[in-house]
């Protein structure tokens, strides 16, 4: 999958098609790493920005999907070391006193509490478990699609998905958290 020279300017239509087809997958991988939707979106956008720059340099990516997923994984790992994550763009106290436009209703608060508990348990799972759960439940991918994306066999997807669910259920049982809103 070495890039080969691609004469001519980048193709916007092709780029948009790639973004349409694969941006959610890229987001899902980044999300599985950090369990943060905004961070995942930043990583996804950065991934596609790098693809565009590669094209601008005249490089053609033979397998854009695999390239995007690989770059997204690398960026997600690099994010842990980035100055942005360590320092942030603003000190935390900057956000003091900032409120949402509308106060969320009680239902949303309770749901968020339940989700926060689930998120905490998900963060304790191995990243491979989080990846497969994200692909299954965020993107509604079936085992065949997950197998294609992760380059593993469908039987392996079944096994990893089952184990991930068991581990998560076990953690939820152990913590005995009230997940009901």
């Amino acid at each position: 999958m070495s890039p080969i020279p691609n004469p001519g300017p980048p193709d916007r239509a092709e780029f948009e098609a790639l973004y349409q087809h694969h941006s959610r997958e890229v987001w899902a991988l980044a999300y599985a790493r950090w369990m943060n939707a905004d961070t995942a979106m930043d990583i996804a956008q950065e991934t596609f920005l790098r693809l565009w720059r590669e094209w601008e340099k005249g490089e053609r990516i033979l397998n854009p999907r695999a390239w995007l997923l690989r770059v997204a994984r690398n960026l997600a790992e690099d994010y842990a070391k980035s100055a942005f994550r360590r320092n942030g763009t603003h000190p935390p106290q900057t956000m003091n006193g900032v409120q949402a436009h509308d106060l969320p209703p009680l239902e949303i608060l309770e749901r968020e509490e339940a989700f926060a508990h689930l998120r905490k348990e998900l963060e304790q799972l191995p990243q491979a478990d989080r990846e497969i759960l994200t692909l299954r439940y965020a993107l509604d991918y079936n085992t065949g699609e997950i197998a294609g994306l992760l380059a593993i066999k469908e039987s392996a997807v079944h096994m990893r998905l089952s184990r991930a669910r068991q581990r998560l259920a076990g953690r939820l049982r152990d913590t005995n958290g009230d997940l009901r809103p």
Binding site: A37, M41, Q45, L49, R111, Y137, A169, L172, L179, P181
Partner: protein, 134 residues
């Protein structure tokens, strides 16, 4: 965006269906509600309309105007000088003929055929007409 979260069994461990529903609701809530467009193209779209508004040769009109000004300043004096020279020549041939400095010119009497050299105010002027002097 309301998301229905299924209840969890009182035993503490959610059933498979409940876990499915819980995970699905959780991840759906995490997905961005409106999927944003690629930033790299969005940024470029903010610039492209300005580029499209520019003409193909943005300096063409300015350069044409400059060239016209230069041409005017160069050709104007030439035209004016040639115009006034011609006007002076025409005036001289009709009212004040050019002074002949040719000493070999033959003086003839008025009324004689050929060149007629006319004496006017002590100066010699030529008036063309008739046959050449013999």
């Amino acid at each position: 965006m309301s998301v229905a979260v299924p209840p969890v069994q009182q035993t503490g461990r959610p059933s498979e269906d409940e876990l499915d529903g819980l995970l699905r609701a959780f991840y759906r809530a995490e997905l961005p509600y409106a999927w944003p467009p690629p930033r790299v193209l969005a940024d470029r779209n903010a610039i492209l309309p300005l580029r499209r508004a520019l003409p193909r040769f943005p300096m063409l009109r300015t350069r044409l105007a400059l060239a016209a000004c230069v041409a005017f300043f160069v050709a104007g004096p030439l035209f004016l000088s040639s115009y006034f020279n011609r006007a002076n020549t025409e005036t001289a041939t009709t009212t004040e003929p050019a002074l002949i400095g040719n000493e070999k010119a033959e003086r003839v009497q008025p009324g004689t055929a050929g060149y007629q050299l006319l004496q006017k105010d002590g100066r010699t002027w030529i008036k063309v007409g008739g046959n050449s002097p013999k």
